[in-house]
């Protein structure tokens, strides 16, 4: 069956053991990608015509901001898979996403405000995109809080997944807010349809950073998932053996 891989993914034990094998490769790709991107972006790429060296925050800010949204979508989609196909692993993935997503959202907010001080003259303005990004942070917090508040694991999984799915409406709001409202924030500079409005000497390191942030996310996600699996199946025989063997 073409679907067996999908259901095998659904087995916590199988996933646990496989992910241990993938882990070194992920760290390798994430590490080298981040290394190349950072060196290129922070030292080799030219400073911006208007903003000078300051603009180098971009190589952190933009990937972090993209990732904060990407993680949310991953979280919601895996929650939906959990509800539709009743897959325990999908819930595990969903729950492992929220702390990581919150961290990247926080990073995007911090780098954004650090960037905002010199460019806009203030750390924080109540502008549409910034607000929506903040709402995203609250959504991550809400997701974690709701899961922790419900003692029954099966219910907690489903409730958190529903919340994640409902919160997806915020993602297009973040993205399109700059077009719908006139705001201080930069409009989209990377677009698939038109030629990017950004010079290729900056584009390449940025693209490398964006991709390696995503790989980095997956690399960080796996240990979170493994932890969650161990916690969830803490009474299962294989978990006890696994823990003892360490």
């Amino acid at each position: 069956m073409a679907w067996t891989w999908f259901f095998r993914l659904g087995s916590p034990k199988w996933f646990y053991q496989m992910s241990l094998k993938w882990q070194p490769w992920l760290w390798f790709f994430a590490g080298s990608g981040l290394g190349i991107g950072l060196i290129w972006g922070l030292w080799i790429a030219p400073p911006d015509y208007y903003q000078g060296e300051l603009q180098r925050i971009m190589y952190i800010h933009v990937p972090a901001a993209y990732l904060s949204m990407f993680v949310y979508v991953v979280m919601a989609v895996s929650g939906a898979i959990g509800i539709i196909w009743r897959m325990k692993m999908a819930y595990t993935v969903s729950m492992s996403c929220s702390p990581i997503g919150a961290a990247f959202t926080f990073l995007a907010l911090i780098t954004g405000s650090l960037w905002g001080k010199p460019t806009w003259g203030t750390y924080w303005v109540f502008d549409a995109r910034l607000t929506a990004e903040l709402v995203l942070l609250f959504l991550y917090f809400g997701h974690m809080a709701l899961f922790n508040a419900i003692s029954d694991l099966k219910s907690a999984d489903k409730a958190a997944a529903i919340l994640a799915i409902v919160g997806v409406v915020n993602i297009p709001i973040i993205h399109f807010s700059v077009e719908w409202w006139n705001s201080l924030h930069q409009p989209a500079s990377l677009s698939k349809l038109e030629k990017p409005s950004i010079d290729s000497s900056m584009l390449w390191p940025l693209l490398i950073m964006i991709v390696s942030f995503k790989v980095f996310f997956v690399a960080v996600l796996l240990p979170f998932i493994r932890n969650h699996i161990l916690w969830r199946d803490r009474d299962a025989q294989w978990v006890k053996q696994e823990v003892e063997s360490k």
């Binding site: 009743r86 099966k154 009474d235 299962a236």
Partner: protein, 209 residues
């Protein structure tokens, strides 16, 4: 008389917290039968009823009902479930409480007065449920059994808080339901004296996972 039906539970298993409550649990209930679920405190009786009514997902196994196809729609149409919390609103009077559920069920011309008298609450029709005693509150819920004509009753410890007369009355009512071609699934720690065929299901408690 209700149309004939048979409910089948196949190979159920349920884990709550870190305890396996039951596994390989099979039973059938048909029209005209009483299923008496027994077991010590914590054996999993209430949990089993909750899987039956769909509020808890079993970790294995499934239910089916024989002349129909979709178990859950059949269930919501043909079942009355009374557990520890009976869904009687303190802020409504006895009659209003009963009328609400009768309307939801679409009962035509329900006779509240006689049902209320039958459960021993005559004269309390217009009293707020809040102002009744523990046993009287449970009697309001039991009056629903008289008003709503459903084939399957699921009763989780229905004798609790009833006085001696009330207990005897309820046992009689269960017999009557069975004679009418209905079915009753019941748990109770108090002796049920029933003059009809009762099949028993003993939950022994399986222990840790």
């Amino acid at each position: 008389m209700y149309s004939r039906f048979t409910i089948t539970a196949q190979d159920l298993a349920l884990i709550r917290g870190d305890r396996l409550l039951f596994k390989h649990c099979n039973f059938t209930v048909s029209s005209g039968q009483v299923l008496y679920i027994k077991g010590a405190n914590g054996a999993g009786k209430t949990s089993l009823l909750n899987t039956l009514t769909g509020f808890i997902e079993p970790d294995n196994g499934a239910f089916s009902v024989s002349p129909e196809n979709h178990f859950h729609t059949w269930l919501t149409r043909n079942t009355l479930y009374l557990g520890h919390h009976t869904g009687i609103k303190s802020a409504l009077t006895v009659t209003e409480n009963l009328a609400f559920y009768a309307h939801l069920r679409g009962v035509t011309k329900p006779d509240f007065t006689s049902a209320i008298a039958a459960v021993g609450l005559a004269g309390f029709d217009e009293q707020l449920a809040a102002h009744l005693s523990q046993g009287q509150k449970r009697r309001i819920a039991l009056a629903r059994l008289l008003i709503e004509p459903v084939a399957l009753w699921i009763l989780d410890e229905p004798l609790v808080a009833l006085d001696v007369d009330g207990q005897a009355w309820l046992c009689g009512l269960i017999e009557q339901q069975v004679n009418n071609g209905g079915a009753v699934i019941v748990t109770s720690h108090q002796p049920l004296t029933l003059n009809c065929t009762v099949s028993e299901l003993e939950l022994a408690g399986v222990g840790n996972v």
